[in-house]
Structures are given as structure tokens and as C-alpha cells.
């Protein structure tokens, strides 16, 4: 059975052990790369999760258990991320979710992509207050800040954050991604934020030859 189908069957059954064993074996035996795992297995499995608006039978507790399975797999992947690193750049990046944004799995995957591209990467994650961004950029002396927005309500906070960062650190490259931007990318594009959808976009925008 193809990996995704087998994974998704275990994922729907909330069988954490099988999900982890499958993905660990696939990475160890070099059947898939980290990029394949993230794009064609984990993101694909997460993308079919419903919400209460579109599916009245949606159960939040199930979504949380499934998120937890994905999180465990991502954390397990770290040695493979380092192994699959393309090069080492003398650059620093942080991956952050704006104030109020509680969803951070996408951001966590992006932080691994940046590591593979050679950035010294800090995963800051969810619900980061707007003014903390400025302190973080100064303290860590960042070249790149990647902002992840899943809930479109949080675009407002993301926008305010972008305006602040552009004012105080115009030299920092800002990239953004996430489901919240699907229909609304122009809100941040207007402020010179680069929009990314996957690792290929990140490679094109931030890779060593960019």
C-alpha cells in the first residue's frame, strides 16, 4: 500500500504508534525525504481535517489528537533534517506565529525547511506578542522572519507586526505563509512580504543562490 494511504488509515484510526513507525522506517530506509514526508504525507493528512463550520460532526478532540501525532513525527524528524541539509549559510531565521495564532504545525515544518536550506533557525511558534517580534529580531540579529497565519482573523495582528518590523528593521526579509493567506495574500504583499506555499517557494526566495 502506498505510504500516504497506509499512514492516513492509521491517522484516521488515531493509531499514533503505527503512524510514527511507518514514517520513521520510510525516512530511515530513504524511501522518502523530509520534504516528501511533510508535503505529501503530513500536510496532505492535515489538509483533509474539517472544521465545525463545514462539518457539524467535526470533533475538536480528534483534531487535537491528530495534531499531537503530527507534532511527534515532526520532532522525531530532526536528525533527518540535519542529515538532509543542503548547505550551511551564514544567516539566521526565526519562524513565528502572530499574536493570537494558536496553530503552529505549519510553522514548525517551515522551521525545518529553513534548517535544510542552511539557516540557523529559531522556532518561536504560536501566539507571539507583536512587540516581542522587535526584541527577538534585535536579540537574535535575524536576517529572515517567517510568519505563519492559519486563522484569517489573525491577519490583523500579522499586518500590524509587519508594519512594525518594516519600520524598525527594513533590512530584514519577511516571508509569510499559511491557510489564512490563501485568499488574502495581497494584505501582506502590499508591505513587501514574500508569500510562500512550500519548500520550493522557500528555496527560490531564500535558498543559497537567491
Amino acid at each position: 500500500m502506498p505510504l500516504f494511504e497506509e499512514f492516513n488509515r492509521a491517522f484516521q484510526a488515531l493509531d499514533q504508534e503505527h503512524c510514527i513507525q511507518l514514517t520513521y522506517d520510510a525516512l530511515s530506509n530513504e524511501i522518502i525525504s523530509v520534504e516528501d514526508l511533510y508535503e505529501n504525507v503530513l500536510r496532505k493528512a492535515l489538509s483533509v481535517l474539517t472544521d465545525k463550520e463545514t462539518d457539524p460532526t467535526h470533533k475538536i478532540w480528534r483534531e487535537h489528537v491528530q495534531s499531537s501525532i503530527v507534532r511527534t513525527i515532526i520532532e522525531m524528524t530532526y536528525p533527518f533534517v540535519i542529515k538532509q541539509r543542503i548547505e550551511i549559510l551564514n544567516k539566521k531565521a526565526a519562524v513565528v506565529c502572530p499574536d493570537g495564532e494558536q496553530h503552529e504545525l505549519g510553522a514548525r515544518m517551515v522551521s525545518d525547511y529553513l534548517r535544510m536550506l542552511g539557516y540557523e533557525t529559531y522556532f518561536v511558534g504560536r501566539d507571539t506578542p507583536r512587540l516581542e517580534f522587535l526584541d527577538m529580531i534585535k536579540t537574535l540579529n535575524l536576517d529572515v522572519v517567517a510568519i505563519s497565519v492559519t486563522n484569517y482573523y489573525n491577519l490583523s495582528k500579522a499586518l500590524q507586526t509587519v508594519v512594525d518590523v518594516k519600520e524598525h528593521f527594513p533590512e530584514v526579509t519577511l516571508v509569510a505563509g499559511g491557510r489564512g493567506l490563501d485568499a488574502n495574500a495581497e494584505v501582506l504583499v502590499k508591505h513587501d512580504v514574500l508569500i510562500t506555499h512550500d519548500l520550493n517557494d522557500l528555496k527560490r526566495i531564500l535558498g543559497g543562490n537567491a
Binding site: Y153, L155, S156, A183, N184
Partner: protein
Amino acid sequence: MDNILELKNITKFYGDKIKTQVLFGLDLSFERGSFNSIIGQSGSGKSTLLNILGTLDRPTDGDIIINGKNTKTLNANALSQLRNENLGFIFQFHYLLPEFTALENILMPVRILGKKIDKEVMARAEELIELVGLSKVKNNLATQMSGGQQQRTAIARALMNQASIILADEPTGNLDSDTTEQIYDLMRMINKKYQTTFIIITHDQSVAEKTDRIIEIKDGRILMDVRKK
């Protein structure tokens, strides 16, 4: 989908001698059957905007087009008729009349229009009572109902004249989180069942994030206008 409500270059000043501008050339349109929220800090101009959308206040300049009709040239009576036929209002404080029952409050917009409470009107009121889940307390005085029941009554009242647009100003502002969820579910159900357009001013993230479009107002201007999909 066609636009049921449009604002073109709306400006609003308050005061005669010292003029304060609160809205700065807003252009907005709302599609028929859409479910929208307006957010913004206190003093951002969002309540002024809602009052103008609801024709409760006139803009200093600009056009409001409701169901294809420009309100600029309408006199007070014609404007009132347009409002009664098209718009329903829900407020944070329900403004139910305390000496009347839930059913009588729901029938109030019909009485204000001077229409007779005939069988057809009563059937509509009963249908709305059923819809908002108040059948058991329909003969209770407004004061003998919980906050959630009072807001449900206000929602049914707003629908009594078959309004195609509901303007809601902080409809869950006075409610606990469980009741907020119920009122949101009710508004969404009405939106889907009758294709009623909703424009909801709210501070409540749990409500705004579930609407299909969020418009953020800041200092009288549109800061952000985003859609879920």
C-alpha cells in the same frame, strides 16, 4: 452573487463649529446572503459605520445603495419604509419592551408598521419562535427570560418583517461564552436557511473568526478587508 448593500465614498463629520471627521471616503459592498463582521477598536468609527449602513444616521457625503435603491434622494418617510422592508437590527442590549411577552415583542415591528396581526402574521411569528427555540417561553414577559432567551427574542423580532439584511451591533457582547456560541449558531442557521445577509460588529474573536469576511476599521478607514476562502 449580486450586491445587496453598497457604500460609495462615505464620509462623516460630527459637530458644527468644531468638525471631527470619523469616516474617510469608505467604499464597501456586501453580497446578498453573505456573513460578514466588522472589527475595530473603540472609537474606530465602526458603530458610526453601522448606523450609516442601517440608515439610522446620514453620511456627510457619499452614497448608500440598498437593494439597488440609492438612499440619498429619499425623504424621511421613504427612507423609513426602505429600512423597515429591508433591514433588521440586533443590539448588545436587546431593547425588548419589559411589559410585553416574547411573542408580543416579536410582533412589535408589524404593529409599528400599522399592519393587522392576521393569521399569516401570527404563523410567521410562531415559525420564528420555533426557529429560535423559544416555544416554551413565548408567553413569558421579557423580564422573565434569560439573557440568551432575550437575545433570541430580539433576533426573531429583527426577522419579523422578513429583513434581507441583519445589522448586529455587538450581539453577544453581554453574553457568556456558551450562550455566545448558541447565538452565533442561530445567526448562521438563519443566514443559511433564508440567505439573510449579516453584518456583525463584534469585539468577540470567537464570533469574528467564524464569519466569512472580516472588515477592520481603524481611524475611520478600512485597514483590512479579508475573506475566509
